[in-house]
Amino acid sequence: MIENLHLLINVSLLAFLVLIVFAAINTNNLFVATMLFGIFSFVTALLFLDLDAVDVAFTEAAVGAGFTTVLMLSALRLTGAFENVKHRHSVLGLLIVVLTGAALIYGTADFPSMGDANAAVHLNLAPEFIQLTQEKIDIPNVVTAVLASFRGYDTFGETVVVFSAGVAVLLLLGMGHVEPKQEPEQNIVLWIVVKPFIALILIFGLYVQFHGDFGAGGGFQAGVIFASGFILYSLVFGESYARKVIPSSILPRFAALGVIIYGVTGLASLLGDKPFLDYNALSSNPVSGQHIGILLVEAGVGLAVFATVLLIFYSFSGVNHNE
Protein backbone atom coordinates (compact mmCIF):
# COMPACT_ATOMS: atom_id res chain seq x y z
CA MET A 1 0.00 0.00 0.00
CA ILE A 2 2.70 2.45 1.11
CA GLU A 3 4.86 1.40 -1.86
CA ASN A 4 2.00 2.16 -4.25
CA LEU A 5 1.36 5.51 -2.57
CA HIS A 6 5.04 6.43 -2.97
CA LEU A 7 4.92 5.44 -6.62
CA LEU A 8 1.76 7.51 -7.12
CA ILE A 9 3.33 10.57 -5.46
CA ASN A 10 6.54 10.21 -7.46
CA VAL A 11 4.74 9.77 -10.76
CA SER A 12 2.43 12.74 -10.20
CA LEU A 13 5.31 14.99 -9.09
CA LEU A 14 7.37 14.02 -12.14
CA ALA A 15 4.34 14.59 -14.37
CA PHE A 16 3.99 18.05 -12.82
CA LEU A 17 7.63 18.77 -13.70
CA VAL A 18 7.05 17.87 -17.34
CA LEU A 19 3.85 19.96 -17.51
CA ILE A 20 5.55 22.97 -15.92
CA VAL A 21 8.43 22.80 -18.40
CA PHE A 22 6.04 22.73 -21.36
CA ALA A 23 4.05 25.64 -19.91
CA ALA A 24 7.28 27.62 -19.42
CA ILE A 25 8.36 26.97 -23.02
CA ASN A 26 4.93 27.97 -24.33
CA THR A 27 4.59 31.33 -22.62
CA ASN A 28 6.34 34.43 -23.90
CA ASN A 29 5.57 36.36 -20.73
CA LEU A 30 8.83 36.22 -18.80
CA PHE A 31 7.12 36.93 -15.47
CA VAL A 32 4.97 33.83 -15.91
CA ALA A 33 8.01 31.79 -16.93
CA THR A 34 9.91 32.96 -13.83
CA MET A 35 7.04 31.96 -11.55
CA LEU A 36 6.76 28.61 -13.31
CA PHE A 37 10.44 27.96 -12.68
CA GLY A 38 9.88 28.81 -9.01
CA ILE A 39 7.10 26.21 -8.90
CA PHE A 40 9.41 23.78 -10.74
CA SER A 41 11.98 24.17 -7.98
CA PHE A 42 9.37 23.59 -5.28
CA VAL A 43 8.17 20.40 -6.96
CA THR A 44 11.79 19.25 -7.28
CA ALA A 45 12.26 19.96 -3.57
CA LEU A 46 9.20 17.78 -2.85
CA LEU A 47 10.73 14.98 -4.93
CA PHE A 48 13.98 15.22 -2.96
CA LEU A 49 11.95 15.17 0.26
CA ASP A 50 10.22 12.02 -0.91
CA LEU A 51 13.64 10.45 -1.54
CA ASP A 52 14.61 11.31 2.09
CA ALA A 53 17.24 13.79 0.89
CA VAL A 54 16.09 16.50 3.29
CA ASP A 55 19.29 18.56 3.09
CA VAL A 56 19.09 18.74 -0.70
CA ALA A 57 15.36 19.53 -0.61
CA PHE A 58 16.11 22.35 1.81
CA THR A 59 18.74 23.84 -0.51
CA GLU A 60 16.52 23.50 -3.55
CA ALA A 61 13.61 25.26 -1.83
CA ALA A 62 15.78 28.07 -0.44
CA VAL A 63 18.00 28.68 -3.47
CA GLY A 64 15.95 27.44 -6.42
CA ALA A 65 12.50 28.63 -5.45
CA GLY A 66 13.40 31.56 -3.23
CA PHE A 67 16.59 33.33 -4.15
CA THR A 68 16.73 32.52 -7.87
CA THR A 69 13.15 33.73 -8.37
CA VAL A 70 13.94 37.04 -6.69
CA LEU A 71 17.08 37.40 -8.82
CA MET A 72 15.15 36.66 -12.02
CA LEU A 73 12.53 39.24 -11.03
CA SER A 74 15.29 41.79 -10.40
CA ALA A 75 16.68 41.02 -13.84
CA LEU A 76 13.20 41.36 -15.38
CA ARG A 77 12.99 44.93 -14.09
CA LEU A 78 15.85 45.68 -16.47
CA THR A 79 14.72 43.66 -19.48
CA GLY A 80 10.93 44.04 -19.50
CA ALA A 81 8.35 41.32 -19.11
CA PHE A 82 7.87 40.08 -22.65
CA GLU A 83 9.99 37.90 -24.85
CA ASN A 84 10.73 39.07 -28.39
CA VAL A 85 8.73 36.56 -30.39
CA LYS A 86 10.64 35.04 -33.25
CA HIS A 87 8.74 32.79 -35.59
CA ARG A 88 11.61 30.66 -36.69
CA HIS A 89 11.24 26.93 -36.92
CA SER A 90 14.63 25.38 -37.39
CA VAL A 91 14.58 21.75 -38.54
CA LEU A 92 18.20 21.34 -37.51
CA GLY A 93 17.43 22.57 -34.00
CA LEU A 94 14.56 20.12 -33.64
CA LEU A 95 16.78 17.30 -34.89
CA ILE A 96 19.53 18.13 -32.38
CA VAL A 97 17.06 18.36 -29.51
CA VAL A 98 15.39 15.06 -30.40
CA LEU A 99 18.74 13.29 -30.81
CA THR A 100 20.05 14.63 -27.47
CA GLY A 101 16.83 13.66 -25.73
CA ALA A 102 16.94 10.19 -27.23
CA ALA A 103 20.57 9.76 -26.18
CA LEU A 104 19.73 10.82 -22.62
CA ILE A 105 16.78 8.45 -22.44
CA TYR A 106 18.98 5.66 -23.84
CA GLY A 107 21.51 6.49 -21.12
CA THR A 108 18.96 5.96 -18.34
CA ALA A 109 18.77 2.28 -19.30
CA ASP A 110 22.18 1.79 -17.66
CA PHE A 111 21.09 3.41 -14.40
CA PRO A 112 20.59 1.19 -11.37
CA SER A 113 16.93 1.05 -10.40
CA MET A 114 15.76 3.38 -7.62
CA GLY A 115 16.62 2.18 -4.12
CA ASP A 116 18.91 -0.59 -5.42
CA ALA A 117 21.23 -1.50 -2.54
CA ASN A 118 23.81 -2.97 -4.95
CA ALA A 119 24.23 0.22 -6.98
CA ALA A 120 27.83 1.35 -7.36
CA VAL A 121 27.39 4.52 -5.28
CA HIS A 122 26.15 2.53 -2.30
CA LEU A 123 29.00 0.04 -2.35
CA ASN A 124 32.13 2.14 -2.65
CA LEU A 125 32.49 4.85 0.01
CA ALA A 126 29.04 5.29 1.51
CA PRO A 127 29.15 2.36 4.01
CA GLU A 128 32.55 3.55 5.20
CA PHE A 129 31.25 7.11 5.68
CA ILE A 130 28.20 5.93 7.60
CA GLN A 131 30.29 3.74 9.88
CA LEU A 132 33.08 6.25 10.45
CA THR A 133 30.62 9.07 11.20
CA GLN A 134 29.46 7.21 14.29
CA GLU A 135 32.97 6.20 15.36
CA LYS A 136 35.08 9.24 14.67
CA ILE A 137 32.78 12.26 14.46
CA ASP A 138 29.79 11.25 16.54
CA ILE A 139 27.11 13.52 15.08
CA PRO A 140 23.69 12.28 13.93
CA ASN A 141 23.64 13.97 10.52
CA VAL A 142 25.86 11.95 8.19
CA VAL A 143 25.39 14.52 5.42
CA THR A 144 27.04 17.23 7.52
CA ALA A 145 29.86 14.87 8.46
CA VAL A 146 30.54 13.97 4.83
CA LEU A 147 30.23 17.57 3.66
CA ALA A 148 32.32 19.28 6.30
CA SER A 149 34.80 16.62 7.38
CA PHE A 150 35.27 13.68 4.98
CA ARG A 151 34.89 15.86 1.93
CA GLY A 152 36.20 19.06 3.49
CA TYR A 153 38.40 19.79 0.46
CA ASP A 154 35.42 19.72 -1.91
CA THR A 155 33.38 21.98 0.34
CA PHE A 156 36.28 24.40 0.59
CA GLY A 157 36.34 24.47 -3.20
CA GLU A 158 32.58 25.07 -3.31
CA THR A 159 32.87 27.94 -0.86
CA VAL A 160 35.57 29.52 -3.01
CA VAL A 161 33.33 29.05 -6.07
CA VAL A 162 30.47 30.84 -4.30
CA PHE A 163 32.84 33.61 -3.31
CA SER A 164 34.22 34.00 -6.82
CA ALA A 165 30.66 34.09 -8.23
CA GLY A 166 30.01 37.04 -5.95
CA VAL A 167 33.24 38.71 -7.05
CA ALA A 168 32.37 38.14 -10.73
CA VAL A 169 28.93 39.74 -10.35
CA LEU A 170 30.52 42.63 -8.47
CA LEU A 171 33.07 43.16 -11.28
CA LEU A 172 30.40 43.00 -13.98
CA LEU A 173 27.59 45.05 -12.40
CA GLY A 174 29.17 46.91 -9.51
CA MET A 175 27.32 47.54 -6.30
CA GLY A 176 25.19 50.37 -7.68
CA HIS A 177 24.02 53.29 -5.65
CA VAL A 178 20.48 53.69 -4.36
CA GLU A 179 19.20 57.22 -3.84
CA PRO A 180 17.64 57.41 -0.38
CA LYS A 181 13.92 58.01 -0.68
CA GLN A 182 12.14 60.18 1.85
CA GLU A 183 9.41 57.73 2.76
CA PRO A 184 8.92 54.07 1.91
CA GLU A 185 5.69 53.24 0.13
CA GLN A 186 2.80 53.17 2.57
CA ASN A 187 1.63 49.61 2.98
CA ILE A 188 0.70 49.04 6.60
CA VAL A 189 -0.50 45.45 6.21
CA LEU A 190 2.76 44.26 4.66
CA TRP A 191 4.87 46.17 7.18
CA ILE A 192 3.10 44.74 10.22
CA VAL A 193 3.12 41.16 8.94
CA VAL A 194 6.63 41.22 7.53
CA LYS A 195 8.40 42.60 10.63
CA PRO A 196 7.87 39.56 12.89
CA PHE A 197 8.40 37.31 9.88
CA ILE A 198 11.87 38.73 9.32
CA ALA A 199 12.73 38.01 12.95
CA LEU A 200 11.40 34.45 12.52
CA ILE A 201 13.41 33.95 9.32
CA LEU A 202 16.64 35.17 10.92
CA ILE A 203 16.15 32.94 13.98
CA PHE A 204 15.39 30.00 11.70
CA GLY A 205 18.57 30.76 9.74
CA LEU A 206 20.64 30.65 12.92
CA TYR A 207 18.89 27.42 13.95
CA VAL A 208 19.70 25.81 10.61
CA GLN A 209 23.30 27.02 10.92
CA PHE A 210 23.99 25.65 14.37
CA HIS A 211 21.65 22.66 14.31
CA GLY A 212 23.17 21.34 11.08
CA ASP A 213 25.14 18.68 12.98
CA PHE A 214 21.94 17.17 14.34
CA GLY A 215 19.24 17.83 11.76
CA ALA A 216 18.86 18.88 8.19
CA GLY A 217 20.75 21.95 7.03
CA GLY A 218 24.12 23.59 7.46
CA GLY A 219 26.07 26.59 6.32
CA PHE A 220 24.86 26.73 2.71
CA GLN A 221 21.16 26.63 3.59
CA ALA A 222 21.54 28.90 6.62
CA GLY A 223 23.40 31.52 4.57
CA VAL A 224 20.64 31.67 1.97
CA ILE A 225 17.85 31.73 4.58
CA PHE A 226 19.58 34.47 6.57
CA ALA A 227 20.11 36.52 3.43
CA SER A 228 16.49 36.02 2.35
CA GLY A 229 15.39 37.73 5.58
CA PHE A 230 17.24 40.85 4.48
CA ILE A 231 16.02 40.48 0.89
CA LEU A 232 12.43 40.41 2.20
CA TYR A 233 13.16 43.57 4.19
CA SER A 234 14.56 45.19 1.08
CA LEU A 235 11.54 44.21 -1.04
CA VAL A 236 8.99 45.55 1.44
CA PHE A 237 10.69 48.62 2.88
CA GLY A 238 12.87 49.66 -0.04
CA GLU A 239 16.50 49.08 -0.95
CA SER A 240 17.86 52.29 0.54
CA TYR A 241 16.62 51.20 3.98
CA ALA A 242 18.10 47.72 3.58
CA ARG A 243 21.43 49.30 2.67
CA LYS A 244 21.30 51.27 5.91
CA VAL A 245 20.94 48.02 7.88
CA ILE A 246 23.74 46.21 6.03
CA PRO A 247 25.92 48.62 4.01
CA SER A 248 26.92 47.27 0.64
CA SER A 249 30.61 47.98 1.25
CA ILE A 250 31.00 45.41 4.02
CA LEU A 251 29.47 42.50 2.08
CA PRO A 252 32.56 41.63 -0.02
CA ARG A 253 34.59 41.68 3.19
CA PHE A 254 32.14 39.34 4.90
CA ALA A 255 32.30 36.96 1.94
CA ALA A 256 36.10 36.97 2.02
CA LEU A 257 36.06 36.54 5.80
CA GLY A 258 33.93 33.40 5.42
CA VAL A 259 36.44 31.83 3.04
CA ILE A 260 39.30 32.89 5.32
CA ILE A 261 37.66 31.27 8.37
CA TYR A 262 37.46 28.02 6.41
CA GLY A 263 41.05 28.25 5.21
CA VAL A 264 42.44 29.20 8.62
CA THR A 265 40.70 26.18 10.18
CA GLY A 266 42.56 24.05 7.66
CA LEU A 267 45.86 25.78 8.45
CA ALA A 268 45.28 25.30 12.18
CA SER A 269 45.16 21.56 11.65
CA LEU A 270 48.43 21.79 9.69
CA LEU A 271 50.01 23.38 12.78
CA GLY A 272 48.95 20.33 14.80
CA ASP A 273 51.03 18.06 12.50
CA LYS A 274 47.96 16.70 10.72
CA PRO A 275 46.90 17.02 7.06
CA PHE A 276 45.07 20.14 5.85
CA LEU A 277 41.47 20.21 7.19
CA ASP A 278 42.01 17.22 9.50
CA TYR A 279 40.11 18.49 12.53
CA ASN A 280 41.48 15.84 14.90
CA ALA A 281 44.36 18.24 15.50
CA LEU A 282 42.10 21.00 16.87
CA SER A 283 41.60 19.46 20.30
CA SER A 284 43.25 16.86 22.51
CA ASN A 285 40.18 14.67 22.04
CA PRO A 286 39.81 13.82 18.31
CA VAL A 287 35.99 13.66 18.44
CA SER A 288 35.59 17.09 20.02
CA GLY A 289 38.26 18.33 17.60
CA GLN A 290 35.96 17.20 14.78
CA HIS A 291 33.03 19.02 16.42
CA ILE A 292 35.02 22.27 16.68
CA GLY A 293 36.27 21.93 13.11
CA ILE A 294 32.80 21.31 11.66
CA LEU A 295 31.35 24.24 13.63
CA LEU A 296 34.06 26.63 12.37
CA VAL A 297 33.92 25.41 8.80
CA GLU A 298 30.11 25.64 8.69
CA ALA A 299 30.31 29.16 10.14
CA GLY A 300 32.72 30.11 7.36
CA VAL A 301 30.46 28.62 4.70
CA GLY A 302 27.38 30.31 6.19
CA LEU A 303 29.04 33.73 6.30
CA ALA A 304 30.43 33.43 2.76
CA VAL A 305 27.10 32.28 1.29
CA PHE A 306 25.08 34.89 3.19
CA ALA A 307 27.34 37.75 2.08
CA THR A 308 27.55 36.53 -1.53
CA VAL A 309 23.79 36.05 -1.90
CA LEU A 310 23.02 39.49 -0.49
CA LEU A 311 25.81 41.01 -2.58
CA ILE A 312 24.41 39.54 -5.81
CA PHE A 313 20.93 40.80 -4.86
CA TYR A 314 22.28 44.31 -4.15
CA SER A 315 24.19 44.32 -7.46
CA PHE A 316 21.11 43.31 -9.46
CA SER A 317 18.78 45.72 -7.72
CA GLY A 318 21.33 48.55 -7.84
CA VAL A 319 21.72 48.51 -11.65
CA ASN A 320 18.27 49.97 -12.25
CA HIS A 321 19.03 53.04 -10.21
CA ASN A 322 22.26 53.78 -12.03
CA GLU A 323 20.56 54.72 -15.25
Binding site: T27, N28, N29, N187, V189, L190, V193, V194, L200
Partner: protein, 116 residues
Protein backbone atom coordinates in the same frame (compact mmCIF):
# COMPACT_ATOMS: atom_id res chain seq x y z
CA UNK B 1 -10.67 8.00 20.99
CA UNK B 2 -13.60 7.32 18.70
CA UNK B 3 -14.65 10.96 18.85
CA UNK B 4 -11.12 12.19 18.10
CA UNK B 5 -10.71 9.94 15.09
CA UNK B 6 -14.18 11.00 13.89
CA UNK B 7 -13.19 14.66 14.31
CA UNK B 8 -9.99 14.02 12.41
CA UNK B 9 -11.95 12.41 9.58
CA UNK B 10 -14.36 15.35 9.47
CA UNK B 11 -11.45 17.82 9.33
CA UNK B 12 -9.71 15.90 6.56
CA UNK B 13 -12.93 15.52 4.55
CA UNK B 14 -13.86 19.19 4.94
CA UNK B 15 -10.32 20.23 4.01
CA UNK B 16 -10.47 17.99 0.95
CA UNK B 17 -13.81 19.40 -0.17
CA UNK B 18 -12.61 22.99 0.32
CA UNK B 19 -9.43 22.25 -1.65
CA UNK B 20 -11.58 20.85 -4.44
CA UNK B 21 -13.91 23.87 -4.49
CA UNK B 22 -10.89 26.18 -4.38
CA UNK B 23 -9.30 24.43 -7.35
CA UNK B 24 -12.61 24.48 -9.22
CA UNK B 25 -13.01 28.19 -8.51
CA UNK B 26 -9.46 28.89 -9.65
CA UNK B 27 -10.28 27.24 -12.96
CA UNK B 28 -13.84 28.47 -13.52
CA UNK B 29 -14.31 31.91 -11.93
CA UNK B 30 -14.45 34.79 -14.43
CA UNK B 31 -11.97 37.46 -13.29
CA UNK B 32 -8.63 37.82 -11.57
CA UNK B 33 -10.05 38.97 -8.23
CA UNK B 34 -12.64 36.21 -7.96
CA UNK B 35 -10.00 33.61 -8.81
CA UNK B 36 -7.75 35.10 -6.14
CA UNK B 37 -10.60 34.71 -3.67
CA UNK B 38 -10.96 31.02 -4.57
CA UNK B 39 -7.23 30.44 -4.16
CA UNK B 40 -7.12 32.17 -0.78
CA UNK B 41 -9.96 29.98 0.54
CA UNK B 42 -7.85 26.92 -0.21
CA UNK B 43 -4.80 28.37 1.47
CA UNK B 44 -6.24 29.89 4.60
CA UNK B 45 -8.99 27.38 5.47
CA UNK B 46 -8.47 24.08 3.68
CA UNK B 47 -4.76 23.65 4.42
CA UNK B 48 -5.09 24.33 8.20
CA UNK B 49 -8.07 21.96 8.34
CA UNK B 50 -6.03 19.22 6.67
CA UNK B 51 -3.14 19.78 9.08
CA UNK B 52 -5.48 19.76 12.10
CA UNK B 53 -6.92 16.50 10.81
CA UNK B 54 -3.43 15.00 10.65
CA UNK B 55 -2.54 16.27 14.16
CA UNK B 56 -5.73 14.74 15.63
CA UNK B 57 -4.97 11.47 13.90
CA UNK B 58 -1.35 11.10 15.05
CA UNK B 59 -1.68 12.50 18.57
CA UNK B 60 0.29 15.32 20.14
CA UNK B 61 4.04 15.02 19.58
CA UNK B 62 6.93 17.37 18.79
CA UNK B 63 6.03 17.06 15.11
CA UNK B 64 2.48 18.25 15.73
CA UNK B 65 3.87 21.27 17.59
CA UNK B 66 5.81 22.08 14.43
CA UNK B 67 2.65 21.56 12.37
CA UNK B 68 0.76 23.99 14.63
CA UNK B 69 3.53 26.53 13.99
CA UNK B 70 3.03 25.96 10.26
CA UNK B 71 -0.72 26.61 10.68
CA UNK B 72 0.02 29.90 12.47
CA UNK B 73 2.43 30.95 9.72
CA UNK B 74 -0.08 30.00 7.00
CA UNK B 75 -2.99 31.79 8.64
CA UNK B 76 -0.93 34.96 8.96
CA UNK B 77 1.00 34.87 5.69
CA UNK B 78 -1.62 33.71 3.19
CA UNK B 79 -4.11 36.57 3.63
CA UNK B 80 -1.12 38.93 3.46
CA UNK B 81 0.04 37.38 0.20
CA UNK B 82 -3.48 37.61 -1.20
CA UNK B 83 -3.60 41.24 -0.11
CA UNK B 84 -0.24 41.96 -1.77
CA UNK B 85 -1.32 40.23 -4.98
CA UNK B 86 -4.60 42.16 -5.01
CA UNK B 87 -2.78 45.42 -4.43
CA UNK B 88 -0.29 44.66 -7.17
CA UNK B 89 -3.16 43.87 -9.55
CA UNK B 90 -4.96 47.10 -8.65
CA UNK B 91 -1.67 48.98 -9.08
CA UNK B 92 -1.24 47.33 -12.46
CA UNK B 93 -4.63 48.63 -13.62
CA UNK B 94 -6.94 45.63 -13.24
CA UNK B 95 -9.96 47.39 -11.74
CA UNK B 96 -12.76 45.09 -10.63
CA UNK B 97 -15.97 45.96 -12.45
CA UNK B 98 -19.11 45.30 -10.41
CA UNK B 99 -21.86 46.60 -12.71
CA UNK B 100 -20.96 45.87 -16.26
CA UNK B 101 -20.51 42.15 -16.66
CA UNK B 102 -19.61 42.29 -20.33
CA UNK B 103 -16.92 44.86 -19.79
CA UNK B 104 -15.36 42.86 -17.01
CA UNK B 105 -15.46 39.82 -19.28
CA UNK B 106 -13.53 41.59 -22.03
CA UNK B 107 -11.06 42.81 -19.44
CA UNK B 108 -10.52 39.25 -18.29
CA UNK B 109 -9.89 38.27 -21.87
CA UNK B 110 -7.24 40.91 -22.28
CA UNK B 111 -5.67 39.80 -19.01
CA UNK B 112 -5.67 36.24 -20.23
CA UNK B 113 -4.12 37.29 -23.51
CA UNK B 114 -1.43 39.25 -21.74
CA UNK B 115 -0.61 36.37 -19.45
CA UNK B 116 -0.26 34.08 -22.46
Amino acid sequence: MMIISLLSDICLLLGGILTLTGALGLLRLPSFYTRLHAASVTESLAAPLLIIGIILDTGFTLDSAKLILIIVIMVVSNPTITHALCRAAAHGGYTPDMQNKEKSQTQTDTCAKESK
